[in-house]
């Protein structure tokens, strides 16, 4: 039995008094590669926010390694895990190099000079963004920027990673590159939790699928066990074809045209 990292107990949560998440419980163990799937607005991003401490539940509890997450300082949390979220609004004009180095922030003291800290270079070559280092993050394509964001997160912490829709709206090359990076990290023992729109990507890469519907856990388990025509139909309320992906041997789902009635 491996160590428990996150535990959400009977949490109600949402924004401005509207409850999105209703009495949800979830436990994340060390070494998990979890993908949260489910319809739009089901609460996937809200769960990522709960786990990362960005949102406090109205009732219930969120714990990280046994301690209530509200009792852990932001800086301590930032040292313990990293988050790739959605950056909305205007993106400031930073070079990729500067942006990735922001991942070192929790490890700096305010009076420390601008010391040359080159730990980011190694991470950049791992994620294949070395040739982008001198570009401005404003000039990058969506896929390149997402890769750069993942790199920044890994510079911050590469043991536990929370990602909110890391591959939505990206082209196939970048989906594969990002998911491959996550898979390699997972093989080295990194714990990963990500909200994903793409159910097939979730099944090809993840060790555990947690389906969220109406603010609660709809089903939770190993992809081969929990994904089938019926479970997918009740999750998304439209017809699915289910088969086996001939390349990965994992389940493959395809929504059937005209399947919503």
């Amino acid at each position: 039995m491996s160590e428990e990292l996150f535990r959400i107990t009977e949490a109600d949560a949402g924004y401005r008094g509207n409850c999105f998440i209703r009495s949800l419980s979830l436990s994340v163990k060390k070494g998990d590669f979890i993908s949260l799937i489910g319809p739009n607005g089901a609460g996937k991003s809200t769960i990522i926010k709960l786990l990362s401490g960005l949102l406090s539940p109205f009732s219930g509890k969120v714990e990280f390694t046994g301690t209530d997450i509200r009792d852990i300082g932001n800086r301590e949390l930032a040292k313990s895990f990293s988050v790739v979220g959605q950056i909305s609004g205007e993106i400031p004009d930073f070079s990729v190099k500067n942006f990735i180095s922001l991942g070192r922030f929790p490890f700096f003291d305010i009076l420390e000079g601008n010391t040359a800290d080159n730990s980011y270079i190694e991470m950049a070559s791992r994620t294949g963004v070395t040739r982008l280092l001198d570009r401005s993050i404003r000039e990058l394509s969506a896929g390149e920027f997402q890769l750069v964001q993942v790199t920044r997160a890994l510079v911050q912490n590469n043991k536990i990673l929370l990602l909110d829709e890391p591959v939505s709206n990206l082209d196939y090359q970048h989906i594969v590159r990002i998911m491959d990076i996550l898979k390699n990290l997972h093989n080295e023992g990194t714990t990963i939790i990500c909200a994903l729109h793409d159910v097939n990507a979730a099944m090809d890469y993840c060790s555990r699928v947690v389906a969220i519907k109406d603010g609660g856990v709809f089903f939770d388990g190993v992809p081969d066990k929990v994904i089938n025509q019926n479970s997918m139909k009740s999750l998304y309320e439209t017809e699915f074809y289910c088969g086996i992906n001939p390349v990965t041997g994992r389940p493959l789902v395809l929504p059937v045209p005209g399947g919503f009635s």
Binding site: K49, S52, P106
Partner: protein, 323 residues
């Protein structure tokens, strides 16, 4: 443009403007003579003018311009809004109200500046309390600042409507920027302003991170307390600039913008470069305000608004880039 080049150009512009600021005025002084005096040459009538009048004035412009630009650079990052300026938190409105009260009820001159400062502190306190209650997001912060500014400016109008016209005139001149208003406390205020600018610069990593939004900052390890501290320090800087130079528009909005275009948004260089460029810009504007219509002085706020506004408009139209 490479960052070294930007540093070099801004340093050159700043030294040029310092010399111009000392030379230009009702009495034109040869820059060579000015330099000679500065290096400890013998005392003449001109050296009296330089040491007693010009240098304090140029230094006031330097510190006010630097404070406004640094504050603008910080607010634009923190509120993630390119239109954020030093007065977005209602600091200028509070100061104007404080100053009007003092002038209209005939407080002594020193008390007028203190009263203006108290007014801006009042707005900082209100903003701070609001930010604790309403949580922290850029737009709600800006909206409450705008609301506060309206309340203050309406109160100023109310006072004007009941006051004698000469005191109204005096207040209006001050509200257009007046680098003569600080007088004896100038050196103390300048030192405090410099200390705050350095503290804000020490927060350069925080500022870089805050510029990406609240969630990003928190998951990177920045606390709400640190964000509020930065906002209060920057507002305090704006309040000090008001004490030194009245209400001078546009410097804090425009200068950091232009510096960003050439040097990027990384606060480590953005803050010192904005300080230098803002100081240089205000010194030049102040020199113009003293020389354009000799022997009268045009309020420096009119010059910053006109010259800066035209330049900025021209730049925006010419570059056609998204700001």
């Amino acid at each position: 443009m490479s960052r070294k080049k930007v540093y070099f150009i801004i340093a050159a512009v700043l030294s040029g403007s310092l010399l111009a600021g000392i030379s230009l005025g009702t009495e034109l002084i040869n820059p060579a003579e000015a330099l000679f005096t500065l290096l400890g040459g013998e005392s003449t009538l001109n050296s009296e003018i330089i040491l007693k009048l010009r240098i304090p004035r140029v230094l006031a412009a330097l510190f006010v311009g630097a404070s406004l630009s640094v504050c603008g650079a910080v607010f634009q990052s923190v509120f993630r809004n390119p239109l954020a300026d030093p007065f977005i938190t209602g600091v200028s409105g509070g100061a104007a109200l404080g100053y009007s009260v003092a002038v209209i009820f005939s407080f002594p001159p020193f008390a007028a500046v203190t009263s203006a400062f108290s007014g801006s502190l009042l707005s900082i306190v209100i903003i701070y309390i609001l930010s604790r209650r309403a949580g922290f997001t850029g737009s709600s912060f800006i909206l409450s600042g705008v609301a506060l500014s309206f309340i203050f400016s309406s109160s100023v109008m109310l006072l004007f409507s009941m006051a004698k016209s000469e005191s109204v005139h005096k207040t209006i001149i001050w509200m257009m920027g007046d680098l003569n208003s600080s007088g004896s406390i100038q050196s103390v205020v300048s030192v405090i302003a410099a200390a705050i600018m350095i503290s804000l610069w020490l927060f350069h990593r925080h500022l870089d991170i805050i510029a990406f939004g609240t969630d990003f900052s928190r998951s990177s390890g920045v606390t709400f307390f640190e964000i509020r501290l930065i906002v209060v320090l920057a507002s305090f800087l704006a309040a000090l600039s008001v004490v030194m130079g009245g209400i001078i528009p546009f410097v804090g909005l425009m200068v950091p913008h232009i510096v960003r275009i050439f040097a990027g948004s990384a606060s480590y260089s953005l803050i010192p470069l904005s300080a230098a460029a803002g100081g240089a810009f205000l010194i030049l504007c102040d020199a113009m305000s003293r020389t354009l219509v000799v022997p009268y002085e045009i309020p420096v706020g009119v010059i910053t608004g006109l010259s800066g506004g035209l330049f900025f408009l021209f730049y925006v139209l010419k570059s056609r880039r998204e700001f």
